[in-house]
Symmetry: C2
Subunit: 303 residues, 2 copies
């Protein structure tokens, strides 16, 4: 992959300056990974909060930090929008005119349909934007928890449409691959539909499990409960934003989970051992059929 | 704790021979931990399956293995019942007359109310039995996956009743502590009520999440889905047995999870950001309020 990169002319061949709009956990990790890949790269991080800017510089996520997003974008040939999903589209539209003609804007948002639709209504933003979603993160927020290997062996979904510039699409796919990710392309609609099940509804179901915890049960907690509810510690504002951008697909998948719970309740109350075992076997087989992360092939990429 | 052990006369002071009825993952781990603590101890494992007996010996879980449970119990001053929960009570009643007058019978079952009730209807079994539930395990089964540190820093619930012999109760609590566990006592009813929420309903909810997986979503799976559904890979027969022994408390907690899911669905469909964020914040706080395993104190023990 690296060999073909060096011989094919690409927008990615000589990145000089990257701007990271919103240097939190994900933005900070983009910065660390970029700097590991290209040690000479200038990486400008932005945040409205001075403490976040300082933390991003201290953690080595960026070479400098500023509150001035326009200035950061004017200097950059790559712009990464790492704000909460509710602000990505407006930022793309606001900042696109500052970005060089040949510049590339991408993002790390967990939802894509609304973001891409809104951006594509703006001619300037549309010409420079390619949507991305790295399926990576953590419960902790802030650049101090950023990791240079956060995207290593992770899935990144790139979401082109008929409007997407093909050279920028190729460059964005290559960039994530160079940061260690397995890249797939999907339409924004398909992305949101599939993420509703595999990520968003899973998150809310995990929160529902955590929500019924009673004080007296805490001393009995084992690793099963801990793992099943790990994601429930995630940022409430971030997940509120995600839910509002993908509400109907998520609600549909939560109803599917409720239907499964209904089936469990019914067979437990009737004492129907055989059906209960069949339902559990089905869940076990689905879970066991999922390849472990190391078994996921880079050949998944279809850029 | 060790110092007081050596000076107080205890049934535990000189264990000579342990019988492990059912040397699977848990039984095998009991054997490994006992042998680590008392290298001279004779540990006899039983299984109906020759391959399991061979694997238990090969893994060092036991000093010998046999299909003859009666003979194993006749030689033992400690008997650990590590069969599926549906067979623990009948095994206790069947084997109690073989166990020495001063012998101790305990178990590792994940449910307690039905098991203890049934055992206490039998005079001989009742006099020797103390119920235990180590909150430890794994998705993999068989003695080849046993671990000598499986109980280290884990919770073990011991479930005495008014009928339980107090010296045996003290000995069982001490034994689990020596194997590294934090020991708590609870009535069998309270145990089952609390485990229904923290473990059993959590398991079935995790299975419900795994059950709605669609093929096309598999390449998008991230660590969130993996962790949330980890326990769904558990043994269907074992969880069928557990569900049938604790059906009504589990069903009640699954309904509580459904009610939370209803709330999420309602606020997503209405776009009520504030309520959604409040629900997520509540789940986050409950999750974050749970101490990490290393922070759980041995002082939890109330034996």
């Amino acid at each position: 992959m690296l060999a073909s990169m060096s011989t094919s002319p690409s927008l990615l061949s000589q990145p000089r300056t990257a701007a990271i709009i919103g240097v939190g956990l994900l933005g900070g990790s983009v910065g660390l990974s970029l700097r590991k890949q290209w040690p000479e790269l200038t990486v400008i991080g932005t945040s409205r909060t001075a403490a976040t800017r300082d933390a991003a510089v201290a953690a080595g996520c960026v070479t400098s930090a500023t509150a001035d997003e326009h200035a950061a974008c004017e200097a950059a040939d790559w712009v990464f929008l790492c704000t909460p999903v509710g602000r990505i589209a407006e930022k793309a539209i606001e900042l696109a005119p500052c970005v060089a003609e040949t510049g590339i804007i991408t993002d790390v948002g967990s939802t894509k349909r609304q973001i891409v639709e809104q951006i594509e209504r703006d001619l300037v933003a549309r010409s420079k934007f390619v949507g991305s979603h790295p399926i990576a993160g953590g419960e902790k927020t802030g650049p101090q928890h950023a990791r240079e290997d956060l995207f290593q062996a992770k899935q990144v979904i790139v979401t082109p449409t008929a409007q997407t510039d093909s050279r920028r699409l190729a460059a964005v796919c290559q960039l994530w691959q160079l940061l260690g990710a397995n890249v797939q392309t999907l339409s924004p609609e398909r992305h949101d539909e599939r993420l509703a099940g595999i990520s968003h509804a899973t998150h809310f179901a995990s929160c529902a499990i955590a929500s019924i915890l009673r004080d007296e049960e805490i001393p009995l907690i084992g690793s099963g409960w801990r793992d099943t509810t790990r994601v429930a510690a995630g940022d409430p504002q971030m997940w509120t934003d995600i839910a509002l951008q993908n509400a109907l697909p998520i609600a549909a998948r939560l109803r599917a989970i409720q239907t499964q719970l209904d089936a469990f309740i019914r067979v437990m109350e009737s004492g129907d051992q055989e059906t209960l075992k069949n339902l559990l076997t089905e869940a076990q087989q689905l879970r066991q059929g999922v390849p472990t992360p190391s078994a996921v092939s880079v050949a998944d990429s279809d850029c």
